[in-house]
Amino acid sequence: MKLLRETYLVLRKDLVLQLRRRDSLLTMFFFGTLLLFVFHLSFDLVPDRVSEMAPGLLWLAFLFTGTLGLAQLFGAERENQCLDALLLSPLDRGALFLAKACLNFILMLLVELVIIPLFWILFNLQTWNLLPQVFLIALLGTLGFCVLGTVMSALTLRARARELLLPLVLFPLMIPIILATIQCLGAVLRGGELGDALPWLRLLIGFDVIFLTLGVLVFDWVIEIE
């Protein structure tokens, strides 16, 4: 399909650029790690409480790190007016949306792959066996974040105080994802399985699907220049 082919083209271009510059990936990674240290210093955590607070703290770290990524999402396009070049081309706007959302998703996943085990180490958690489930839930939550975040990133592209405006409009809308992910993570860390939290998982998946579709449909208007 044309949409997927174009998505792949733009995504591949962005990944190559990321590999060469590594600016987004590295800053996100270091920022996430820094946050973990700050959390540990701020919340004097006893071992029993850590499990309770882990979902919230993890998600806070991802939220802020992800926002950093979102702010830089169209960075390559800003120099040399390359965004104009893309808009001038026959590129489907939905493909641009998918490519950018995928880019942020991949970057965040890479960061999470490191941050989650790091969290377990720094906070002395023993439940290493739960990591696969934790990753899966984080993945679903990250997907929703990237999808909605890409729309917001494009919406605020030409606003003043962009770095502040982006979280301002994004975070309230992210609340279902935040709650759902934390509830699921909490259930998993408490009891080793989702159990009661299954409806939350459904909400999470539902959110992802709804806003993925919405994003593809709406991006045409979102990215209109000037």
Binding site: L165, P172, P176, F207, L214, E226
Partner: protein, 235 residues
């Protein structure tokens, strides 16, 4: 502008009607309706609180409608509707929270609590404040209108999801059933109370539409000024 005259008198009539209805409603709320058995007189603020939040919801629905229409037709007046409704929505939501807080202190002993309704109302306030901020921070007007329209639609579509998640969050160990707000803290509803509520609700609606018409007119005048300045600037 001659054509403004019938509009102005219509608006004034609406405003007067709103004033009378609210006065009537207040009388009913403060005098005619019986004192609440459990909560005492403090409960009377519900006669303002409920209409406030319902009006706010109506306002946000209008933001959604205005945004959809603007995306479809790109007419300034639809954007004006969305913008005006957002401003009024933020106003009424803030009012709701303040009224809720005033009720909360004597009832629960605290100014704020994270129960489902209050949290949800606060989130609504945040979303639409964000909407207004987005508009004011984008310099190009058409771009601002377009971005705001999309935010208005995305935000509105997100509200059911937010509603669901916040209510589930607050009723953690119960199976999440239908999305009903926790029941109003009344045992039996006295008919006089219902009357007071109804009158106030109508009064608030009238007040809302009066304010909306004022704000819409303001938006139109601003638009007109901009168009005239633009046309005058044509060399």
């Amino acid at each position: 502008m001659k054509k403004g005259q019938p509009q102005k008198s219509r608006a004034r009539f609406l405003g007067a009607l709103a004033l009378i209805t609210i006065a009537f409603g207040l009388y009913w709320a403060l005098v005619q309706a019986p004192r609440d058995a459990l909560q005492g007189d403090v409960q009377r603020i519900m006669y303002l609180h409920l209409p406030s939040i319902l009006t706010a919801y109506l306002s946000f629905f209008l933001v959604f409608i205005g945004s959809c229409l603007y995306l479809w037709k790109r007419e300034k007046r639809d954007d004006n509707l969305a913008h005006s409704a957002a401003e009024l929505g933020v106003l009424f939501t803030a009012l709701t929270i303040i009224e809720g807080s005033i009720w909360g202190k004597p009832t629960w002993g605290v100014w704020w609590t994270w129960d489902a309704r209050l949290t949800l109302t606060a989130i609504l306030l945040l979303i639409y404040s964000g909407y207004l901020m987005l508009r004011s921070l984008i310099d190009d007007e058409d771009r601002a209108a377009l971005s705001a329209a999309i935010l208005g639609i995305v935000g509105f579509l997100d509200i059911p999801l937010i509603h669901m998640s916040v209510y589930w969050w607050r009723t953690l160990h119960q199976p999440p059933s239908i999305l009903r707000p926790d029941k109003l803290p009344w045992e039996n509803v006295h008919p006089a109370m219902l009357t007071a509520l109804a009158i106030n609700f109508v009064g608030f609606l009238l007040l809302y539409f009066y304010l909306l018409s004022l704000r819409l007119h303001l938006g139109e005048v601003r638009s007109e000024i901009k168009t005239r300045r633009l046309n005058q600037g044509a060399f």
